[in-house]
Symmetry: C2
């Protein structure tokens, strides 16, 4: 009999009927003889309503109090769940962040879990209770303050609990069936993967696949927690996110991801000498803008062009900052383009296969899609292209790597 | 410079604008140099909405989880208040029940405060912060569970904090101007009292005046906390609830209260022998019905009539229980009347004045209002009358004791 940590997102507990549905799902597993810890998000829409209230109350809501406010969303979910559980004879007890001892640092709004002192969870499990933990919230043990982990934080709560309890599996229930080879809205032939490695999942998540919060994947990788991403609204198996050695490597590429959330900036004709990059990026990072891809090409005449991407929402601010700096940098000009997209192919298989890049570039070239910048890591290749070609590019890449037709690992079983 | 505990009820923090208004009121006092601890209720309507949600989730919501759910109401108020405070330069920090260490017993939904470990409150006050405590909620230190104190519990939170901190005064802000000689809706001439003793306030509260939660008055009396009941929506002084020796006793009667929430039951012709009363009241109290006034007259023929009142909501159940018992009791009959009211005159002055009862009975008789039962304590006389005469009775009593015209203590100042 297994110890299972389950996490249900905001849509899964979106109203009272859905909460009752989740209670029935949990009961079915308990009836099979398993021990369950259930982590819940706030009911869909609640967090947004609370944020709106906060902005009505203040032009700049204090971060500490924002966490106190937002934590009520999950607190309500777990209480309502345990009430519904009572009606169907499921013994369940709620624990808030401070009660489950989800210990975090003091970074309000984006706190990091530092420890889970799971004694009380163990005690309840030993009594045959389902332990229902409020996701997203923690306790700064030093100050005794309520903290929250930021959007998607409940995934991390679940993984941290699974790690602390040495659970057999951490099931993340969501409104999709699992992790797909690409976004099914863009590629109708996209297929659900039975397995994916942490590294691939990390790349997928950071490149735009929104199934799992990226921090939870990193946490799981560090602690070796097996994640099962699956749908609340079906009993189908989803996707296992596991260590690399548990993934069949036959497939070179496991997924095609895309993101339209970035903008590209190029600083042209700066001197190719030490300190230039630092001069460009210091003001950008001081403004709290996160730079993603950075590319610098050497050039013959002693000057160079530096290209990088920033979140689309920070594009204007970054351009303004650079306009102020351009003269000091002796840059020829600063070019920007907010209408770009990043398409990426991801797979641990590419480590042992030459030719992935070539196949990618050929596929895009065949459709006359110009590649503006290229960026690679050990297990992914990303290209920045014109935004209007995004869907086309994703489809041709999905096709070029045979993701729809190839015999995927789950079909061999 | 004083240490002041203030409590604002649900109407006072009923929406964001009102929360901002309260923040301004608090700031005005801080600017005068005082140290403030502020206790808040949930925004008006929030608790009722949460209770409805609970009943949607379950036919019989688990008490433990109900407290977890309801505690979110006050948690939201204190967070929003501190945000609004930040905007006007008021340094305020929220504390939840577990953080302010409002330690209660384990009676979910009606927990009693057993201790307030105010160390953290002191620390914040020493730093010049306004400490904003979530009312109504506490922590069962034994289990670590969230508890709530029941309706009106925030008054008790405030008084308990005032006692623990040895505050100079506990100001209870509400939507009325203070404690009146009677209900101004019934008696237009009713006047606000400047002072009232704990004992009188207890009688007033238990007899239907809804200004203060009765448990908070008892708590204040025990610990000698001075309460100032006043309006959120004006700067007028309200009513001081203080030890008897601080109240000018010139006035014999300080108030006329009434209640329409009871029903009268008479068990006629039972044997006047030991055990009869016990036989009647055991099933009633076993059903959780609280009996108020009990009257038994001796009679000549060896039988007697026992009359008592129960809450109107429990009337039918009590009648049914007695119908089952009547035969066993050899009672002649069981009579009931739900259409009654209780009018009471209250005042510590009556201890030293004969003739209060006579004046009361005469006043009612003059209007042909029949008195069904009479019940007295040291500082109050209550009469049960036909419900339809309630308002008339209250007005003639208010008049008979000169409450509108007499020179009240506050007018001498």
């Amino acid at each position: 009999m297994a110890l299972i940590v389950q996490k249900y997102g905001g849509t899964s507990v979106g109203d009272i009927e859905r909460i009752k549905n989740v209670a029935r799902k949990v009961k079915a597993r308990v009836d099979e003889g398993h021990s369950l810890v259930v982590v819940l998000s706030a009911m869909a829409g609640v967090t947004d309503r609370l944020i709106k209230l906060a902005h009505d109350a203040s032009d700049r809501p204090v971060a500490r109090e924002m966490d106190v406010l937002l934590a009520t969303g999950e607190q309500q979910s777990v209480a309502l769940f345990c009430m519904a559980a009572g009606d169907i004879g499921l013994k369940a007890q709620s624990l808030l962040g401070f009660q489950a001892a989800i210990i975090t640092n003091h970074m309000y709004g984006k706190a990091r879990i530092e420890a889970v002192e799971s004694m009380r969870v163990h005690e309840l499990l030993d009594k045959g209770q389902v332990v229902v933990v409020a996701g997203f919230q923690g306790l700064d043990a030093e100050t005794g303050d309520v903290t929250t982990l930021g959007r998607g934080g409940s995934d991390t709560t679940a993984v941290a609990l699974a790690a602390a309890l040495q659970a057999d599996v951490c099931e993340i229930f969501t409104d999709v069936e699992g992790v797909f080879t690409s976004d099914p809205n863009v590629v109708p032939q996209a297929r659900k993967l039975s397995h994916i490695s942490y590294e691939e999942m990390l790349e997928m998540a950071s490149l735009g696949a929104k199934v799992l919060d990226i921090r939870s994947v990193a946490f799981a990788a560090k602690c070796g927690v097996k994640i099962h991403v699956r749908s609340t609204f079906s009993d189908e198996e989803g996707t296992m996110v596991v260590p690399e050695e548990h993934v069949d490597e036959k497939l070179i590429i496991r997924g095609v991801a895309y993101s339209k959330n970035e903008a590209r900036i190029t600083v042209k004709g700066v001197k190719d000498e030490p300190g230039v990059a630092s001069n460009i990026f210091t003001p950008i990072s001081a403004a709290g803008i996160v730079v993603d891809v950075i590319i610098q090409n050497t050039s013959a005449d002693g000057t160079t062009d530096i290209t990088f991407t920033v979140p689309k929402t920070d594009y204007k601010q970054a351009m303004n900052l650079l306009a102020l700096k351009a003269e000091k940098l002796h840059a020829k000009e600063v070019l920007g383009d907010p209408d770009i997209a990043k398409v990426s192919v991801i797979g641990i298989g590419m480590r042992n296969h030459a030719g992935v890049a070539t196949r990618m570039f050929n596929a895009l070239a065949k459709e006359n899609i110009n590649i503006q910048t290229i960026n690679t890591s050990e297990i992914k290749i990303s290209c920045v292209i014109e935004e209007k070609y995004t869907e086309l590019a994703v489809r041709v890449l999905h096709d070029a790597f045979g993701l729809a037709e190839d015999v995927l690992p789950e079909q061999e079983a």
